[in-house]
């Protein structure tokens, strides 16, 4: 017995000593040696670095914060643990309940739920929180939620071509989202710190904390109420005339601000991936067309400015058919003699061609370019086209007579409206703009648009004369009588252009348009409506002019512009 005790004591003591020595050696090894890799690994396992995503800025209409057109929305991803969901009975019933709430096929949900070997699957991503709450209320085992943020457009297809969309990488890919991506996207922040054994953040060990710089908010010049009037009118014209497309722009004459810009067909911005490419095209600035008679005001204005004609100058309209340089030019209605003023009112092609000849090729080209044709006006939206106005050296002997009536030249609706607004604005061609200002999250103004003059093709006097002449177009015997707005005088011009096809012009496909402004005396807004291939009626006066009235009438009232019959109250003392 007495012999055994020391033996056990020695063994246990030696083990203990060994352990102590081992620990001591390890401690010395860790502390005294330079084990950077081990230390780094240890630090890495306890530290974290998190990227703080910056919220993309919102886009508002001209009224500012109240009317949000594009925003970030907190949504939820509905996820399931298939290993759990496949265990319970009544999978099909649960799948049907989920499918009904989430508007997805029930069989797809059932298949996802019946995967016992998997621990994660999405049922539906980016679900609004109220719908997610309804799913949560079902209290289904194995269903859980993931927070997410998406770019959302509350009014879906509204203003789709202006706003554009953001791709899956978070980069603006069209419209304002693309144009102002550098302002909207913001800058991500970073947070570094330590976590405890449960992987919970230790606040007191928080290191670098650079907050994210939220994206700037953009305020547009667009007024959503006018935009709605425009979109409604375009939808009606598309349906009524079975058109292939229709687009319209409303511009404030004195500044160039775009109050509304719409193009049809449109698409739901929240489902842009499923929209066909032709629907994504912003036709108002990315589609060039031969304008037809809407080109005539620019030619008349040029001739009046150059004083080659006066409103009373008489021209022989050749009874509807004029042979010039072995090519016949026809009028829609035959006339024998017309004054310049009546030629514009009746939209005589022959008279316009003869007026253009008084300017000469160089003169006509110079004025048309000064009116903004053949080059971008520089609107702050992507996808603007130059239009087509060939240099004079490429013109043939009859080019000026055809360009004057809107053939052999292609324009965008924005250019045509710009030219008309220049006439309304005492000859000043304004640069159109759609972004009013960009403000950072802290309220600092980062960018503000100001009205900018592009050129001045005509004088005040010529502009006044042209306003008067264009005002006659909408009189009861003018081609644009259907554009009349009760209580206001309207100036404008109709356009009916045959669509160019291989080897000539189509007899069945047309572009109908109307461009004008109101009130004539003190113009406030300019409006253009273009309808692509309306059927069976195809004239600008019968297709586009009524749409113009539907837009301009409520818009001018909404803008509170006094009309011809407005009562003015004065203090009587």
């Amino acid at each position: 017995m007495s012999k055994q005790v020391p033996y056990r004591l020695y063994v246990s003591s030696s083990f203990l000593s060994l352990a102590v020595v081992g620990l001591g050696v390890r401690l010395a090894f860790l502390h005294l040696g330079s084990h950077e890799q081990t230390r780094a690994r240890f630090d890495r396992s306890r530290s974290y670095e998190r990227k703080i995503l910056a919220g993309r800025g919102a886009i508002h209409d001209c009224h500012g914060d109240g009317n949000v057109l594009a925003m970030n929305l907190g949504v939820k991803n509905i996820c399931i643990d298939p290993a759990t969901t496949s265990k319970g009975e009544g999978v099909i019933k649960t799948a049907c309940e989920l499918a009904e709430l989430l508007n997805v096929p029930a069989d797809e949900v059932a298949v996802r739920m019946k995967q016992p070997n998997r621990r994660f699957a999405y049922v539906k991503r980016f679900v609004p929180t109220d719908v997610a709450d309804e799913v949560d209320a079902l209290d289904i085992k194995g269903v859980f939620f993931e927070d997410a943020t998406i770019r959302h457009y509350p009014q879906k297809a509204f203003l789709c071509h202006v706003l554009g969309f953001v791709n899956h990488m978070g980069t603006g890919s069209a419209g304002v989202e693309q144009q102002l991506d550098r302002y909207l996207r913001g800058s991500p922040g970073i947070m570094e710190g330590c976590v405890n054994a449960k992987r919970q953040e230790l606040y007191i060990r928080r290191g670098r904390n650079v907050p994210a710089l939220e994206g700037a908010n953009v305020t547009l010049t667009i007024d959503q109420n006018i935009q709605y009037m425009v979109e409604k009118a375009l939808d009606e014209v598309m349906e009524e005339h079975r058109a292939e497309g229709a687009w319209a722009v409303v511009q404030r004459v004195s500044t160039g601000e775009i109050l509304a810009l719409a193009s049809r067909p449109g698409f739901d911005l929240n489902e842009f991936r499923h929209a066909p490419d032709f629907a994504k095209l912003n036709r108002a600035l990315g589609f060039v067309y031969e304008p037809g008679s809407t080109m005539k005001p620019a030619v008349f204005a040029a001739a009046l400015e150059e004083k080659t004609v006066t409103p009373d100058t008489m021209f022989n309209c050749e009874n509807g058919a004029w042979l010039y340089k072995r090519r016949i030019l026809r009028d829609y209605h035959p006339y024998s003699r017309l004054s310049v003023a009546d030629g514009l009112k009746k939209s005589s092609n022959i008279l316009t061609a003869k007026v253009a000849l008084t300017l000469g090729d160089e003169g006509l080209d110079r004025y048309l370019r000064a009116f903004g044709f053949g080059k971008k006006l520089g609107i702050d939206l992507p996808g603007e086209e130059n239009g087509i106005l060939h240099p004079v050296k490429r013109w043939s002997g009859i080019s000026s007579t055809r360009i004057a009536i809107g053939q052999g030249v292609a324009v965008t609706a924005l250019q045509m409206l710009g030219a008309m607004c220049a006439i309304a604005n005492d000859g000043f061609l304004m640069k159109p703009y759609i972004v009013r200002e960009v403000r950072s999250g802290t309220g600092e103004v980062m960018h503000r648009s100001e009205p900018e003059v592009v050129s001045r093709p005509i004088s005040v006097k010529t502009a006044q004369t042209m306003r008067h002449l264009l005002g006659r177009v909408t009189e009861s015997d003018g081609t644009g009588r259907r554009a009349q707005v009760p209580g206001y005088t309207v100036a404008g011009k109709t356009g009916t252009a045959q669509k160019p096809v291989a080897g000539g012009y189509s007899n069945s496909e047309h572009m109908a348009s109307f461009v004008g402004f109101l009130p004539v005396k003190h113009p406030e807004i300019g409006v253009i409506v273009v309808v692509d291939n309306p059927q069976p009626i195809h004239t600008g006066g019968r297709v586009a002019a009524p749409a113009f009235r539907k837009i301009a009438g409520p818009a001018i009232r909404y803008l509170n512009v006094p009309g011809t019959e407005s009562m003015l109250a004065r203090r009587s003392f």
Partner: protein, 135 residues
């Protein structure tokens, strides 16, 4: 031999008087303990505040999301299209008054500053004459 005697003496004295803890050492121990406790208490306070900040941060994020969702619902509700649908649902039809029905106040007729008392008096705005514009 002498050291042995001294040790014995001290032991004897301790047995007689009990163990005497040196006062300065006791003070150091007390101060150190207080500091240690203070340190631990401050550490706990920092941790508690940290947790509170983290909770507030999380709540801030949640509230921001809620605000966005509320904003979204509000925007949807007051969009021109929603308003029109709501009006149709209630059988309401609104139209602009005829231009001739609208009476405008020029700058002279309008009160210089908006004052509800002045409006309550009502007489200044009521005394207006009618002039047809652009005639």
């Amino acid at each position: 031999m002498a050291r042995k005697n001294t040790r014995k003496k001290r032991k004897k004295q301790q047995q007689m008087n009990g163990y005497i803890f040196p006062v300065p050492f006791a003070g150091i121990v007390v101060v150190a303990s207080a500091l240690a406790l203070g340190y631990v208490w401050l550490g706990c306070q920092c941790e508690a505040l940290g947790d509170e900040i983290k909770t507030t941060e999380t709540r801030g994020v949640d509230l921001k999301k809620k605000l966005l969702n509320a904003e979204y619902r509000w925007v949807r509700t007051k969009s021109p299209q929603s308003l029109e649908i709501a009006m149709q649902r209630h059988g309401l039809k609104m139209d602009w008054p005829r231009v001739g029905q609208v009476v405008r106040l020029d700058k002279v007729a309008r009160p210089r500053t908006f004052d509800s008392r002045e409006l309550a008096g009502g007489m200044r705005i009521a005394k207006v004459s009618r002039n047809v514009m652009h005639e």
